[in-house]
């Protein structure tokens, strides 16, 4: 056998051995080692090339081509094997990283706003959007703001309807040294807001929403000694009962998230004239009559009226020039109706199961 044929044979043997070993390689590192073994500086192919020097000059290019062919065949085979292995390795890694996606996520403690707060926020926002400014007042009031300025003189029978909590001792409060009490309604804010407004040199229109806590000395299944009211009033030229009805209708429909019917019934409050109790068409039975509305199709929700001229006068507003409407609504009552909460006491028991449920 000539020298050149022997070299050719060597190259063929080397190629078939190499391809076989590549196919068996189980890992990328093993393949890397094989690459060095065959194609490296001191690899098998290089060894074969050393024999080329012994060949006559005209035969060298021939064997050179053979060597190059073998080299690229090996390199291609190595690349292909590497790619196969990479795919396999990724598939294994993916399998190893498989998780149960149905396990619950890592929880974070979830807070919740009290349902009364949610109600207050919603109601205040509706009135804010209608242009009513938010005002507050003290909860410990004097008789002047809670009663007298609201046209409820001391001997007035309406005072008895209020079940007032009085403070143990009189303490001087500004110009008024008189019995102090826990405000029985948010209406005193009417007086305070109007006075402040005038003192600041403004002139009506004035539109105010005043949310807050109020107190009545009454404690049973349907009464809480502390509860929340939202007082709403507007004073301007030519404010009419039609405006009162318009604002009520808009507010109640927005709050209950559906068009509600309203009905005003003549009533009596000392601080409004005319006065009206406001009913809404029962939100549970759509006015057909059910247990909640006692079959009447109507549910009483709040008291309202045109601000009594004596109230306007008590703060120095000309009742001939200006008029106003006012109403006060019970927050707990509306929240109970909207959310279907059956028992007032749930609000003040603060059971976290109730709070979480209502807050979600």
């Amino acid at each position: 056998m000539s020298e050149i044929d022997s070299l050719k044979a060597q190259l063929e043997t080397l190629q078939s051995e190499a391809l076989a070993s590549f196919a068996q390689a189980a890992s990328l590192s093993e393949l890397q080692q094989l690459r060095v073994n065959y194609l490296g500086k001191k690899g098998a192919l290089t060894e074969v090339l050393k024999g080329v020097g012994k060949l006559p000059a005209e035969e060298r290019p021939v064997i050179g081509q053979h060597v190059n062919k073998t080299k690229s065949a090996l390199a291609e085979a190595l690349d292909a094997s590497e790619a196969d292995l990479a795919v396999k390795a990724k598939a294994e890694r993916i399998e190893a990283e498989r998780i149960d996606v149905t396990l619950p996520g890592r929880s974070k403690p979830a807070g919740a706003l009290h349902p009364v707060q949610q109600g207050l926020d919603e109601m205040t926002a509706i009135f804010s959007q209608m242009g009513f400014a938010v005002a507050e007042g003290p909860e410990i009031e004097n008789e002047f703001h809670n009663f007298d300025a609201l046209n409820i003189p001391p001997e007035h029978p309406a005072r008895a309807m209020h079940d007032t909590f009085f403070i143990n001792e009189k303490f001087a409060e500004g110009e008024h040294s008189e019995p102090m009490l826990l405000r029985t309604h948010t209406s005193p804010v009417q007086i305070r807001a109007m006075k402040r407004f005038l003192e600041e040199g403004h002139e009506p229109p004035l539109a105010v929403v005043a949310p807050g806590r109020v107190y009545r000395c009454d404690y049973d299944v349907t009464h809480s000694p502390m509860f929340h009211q939202v007082e709403v009033f507007k004073v301007d030229r030519d404010v009419s009962m039609a405006h009162l009805k318009g604002v009520l209708k808009h507010f109640l429909s927005t709050y209950f998230e559906k068009e509600v019917d309203i009905r005003l019934r003549p009533h009596y409050f000392p601080f409004t004239e005319p006065s009206a109790e406001v009913d809404i068409g029962c939100v549970f039975c759509a006015g057909k009559g059910c247990r909640i509305c006692k079959g009447s199709g109507w549910i009483e929700v709040l008291g309202s009226g045109m601000i009594h001229p004596n109230v306007l006068r008590s703060v120095g507003i000309d009742a001939d020039e200006f008029s106003g409407f006012a109403f006060g609504l019970g927050v707990e009552r509306l929240v109970m109706l909207k959310e279907g909460i059956p028992d007032l006491r749930l609000f003040f028991e603060n059971d976290v199961r109730f709070l979480r449920r209502m807050g979600s």
């Binding site: 003290p138 009419s240 003549p266 603060n350």
Partner: protein, 785 residues
Amino acid sequence: MKIPFSWLKEQVALSKTPAEIADDLVRLGHEVEGVEMPRAAVQGVRVGQIRSKQPHPDADKLSLLKVDIGEAEMLDIVCGASNMGEGDKIPVATLGTTLPNGLTIKKGKIRGETSCGMCCSETELGLADESAGLLILPADAPVGAEVGEYLGLEEAVFDLSITPNRGDCMNVRGIARDLAADAGLPLADVISHVAEVETAIPAAKVTVTAEGDCPVYMARRIEGVTLADSPAWMQTGLILAGMRPVNGIVDVLNYVMLDFGQPMHAFDADRLNGDICIRSAQAGEDFAALDGRELKLHAGDLVVCDETDVIALAGIMGSEPSGVTDTTTNIVLESAFFRPARVSETRRTYAMVSEASMRFERGVDPLMVETAMQKASALITELFGGAVGEITVCGDAAAINAGRSVSCSVARISSRLGIDIPESVDAVLERMAFGIRRDGDRLDVDVPPFRHDVTIPEDISEEYARVIGFDAIPEILPALATTAPAKVDRSIHDAVADGFLQVVTYAFISDGEQRLFVEDDGLDIALQNPISDAMSVMRRSAWPGLLNVAKHNLNRQQSGVALAEQGRLYVKTENGHDENNVLAWLMSGDVGQDEWHAQTRKADFFDLKAAVESWLAKRGLIGRFIADDSIAGLQAGQSAKIMVGRAEAGRIGKVDGDIADSFDIDAPVFVADINLDLLPEGKKAKFQPLPEFPGVERDLVFLFDKNSSSDAILNAVRSAGGKLLTETRIFDRYAGKGVPEGKVSLGIRFALQDPNRTLTQQDSDAAMQSIIAAMDKKFGAVLRG
């Protein structure tokens, strides 16, 4: 008050059904709390007569009755009442009858004796809320008749809630007047029987010295009365109207009051000592009221007196010794007008309520004072015999509320109601008994004396509006004013966002709870009339309320709570009082719950501190937590005041173990609060360019004394680190094996950054050396190898 339909129809010829009338009443402003149909409720209850009454052999309080209900056999009935005797006629619920209270009558044995029916009281028949014993029927009641039919209960009774301004509607005629005006029907004339005066009977002698409080007083003697039960028709009326028959005279007076609204009183003339005087009481005068109470009167109370005693608290209640009894033969009738405010004040002083006072304090019809006197005297003499003397009249009833007129503009009524006012307004108001004089837009409205409530033009517009109905007023949304949007208080919302549940607790707590966290400095605000001791003083800390909520929930299978409340705290000040807006937190027990990836742990100080810090950060504020062992109710060593800016704005700490025990809470409890009124305005974050050059992070670990303050260490680090130091924090804290006793190892991480260039090794080494030197100098801290 209760108004029987049949009685209304005596005053006005109504042709509508009770349901329609109820709707009209609501529209007119008289709230209808219910329409009762009494007849339907007592089907099967019959008139029975007691033929014999024996004591029950085995029970002192029971009787064995044989009752005749007009059938062949007498009924054996065991009865627990005691006010009946042989011969009395009583309502008997026969077997199978279901009473209004839901009880169905069955044959049964009571203590071994057979009972075949039940004798009934007013309460059991659904006619009254309270009753004392059986309803004894008039002697002429036909035995065996249906009681409902006999009593004329076959009808509707309107249960009305009369508003305090409409004293004129606290009687049948007043309601009838509203309905008549509404329907355009005539109101029946007052049929006044007038008893003929017997001149031999002396006129009652009366003087009034308190004319201001008693502008009109009428009195009349009636002699020779033979007292008997009032007739069945009257008793029925009274029962349907919710009043219990008492005796003939009282029944007549109550009947007249329900009919006309004029309360009257009868004295036993033979139990009076001399002439009658109406005057102001002197302080300390004794009064033995009809309800059994012995009062010491106040100066200024209006009283009716004879020459020795106070015989009535005017308009409220008569005295026991001067009252009519079963043996009374001569009486003095009183009919008067007392000043409403006077009656109201006195009634409230003694916490007394009577049918009379309710009417007087709302104002009665002055022109009814004499009419009622005439009608009552006529009824009494017709029913019980006797003869009447002259009526003694003090004062002029016609002068009360006389000539009142309200002048108003039709245009103004229109503007206030938001509707056009047609010419027919005149007719509507005239039907309501107002007199109308019109001059173009001007309306002069003469107000009848019984309408004490109508004084201003707005009252006139209400009168008109309630007759046409508030439904006739359109719904108009006024033009929206634009106001600066209010700054919304997000305090509680931000606490909730950090995982806290908002609670709402009462503003009043017990005195004991107040003392847990607030020293007694005399600045508490206590209630005069608390619901209970547990709700008697205005809170000065929100923590007791939160502890009560924690207790409630931890006792109900909750393993941990995180609560927050926003509300006010109340304290006396030199000039009055303060109401401070406060946000308070409480954490106790497990943080979260056991989950597949992590176990729960108990909340500690730093859980709550994180919440407070996070809350402050949201408003651009940083709190400094300064250890303070003197905070009442918190455990020394785990409590701090929270400084924000210069304000001591809050406190935080672990609730004293004994206090937690007293709320039955085993786990450590942590609380905090922030006085929102003291918080300074926070800084709003401003834009800063992001760093262009890389920064470096370095860690250093030192040994410090165990009681060193982290806050002081970090402050020292910041001032030593120089301008390049952008961030520093404690990343590790360790005490124990490998750390000397009394020392603690703190790992501090620094971030260094120069906005203008890449940092060099020298830069960071210089900063490190400066910090190491400062730690050594200030704290004697050494680097841990």
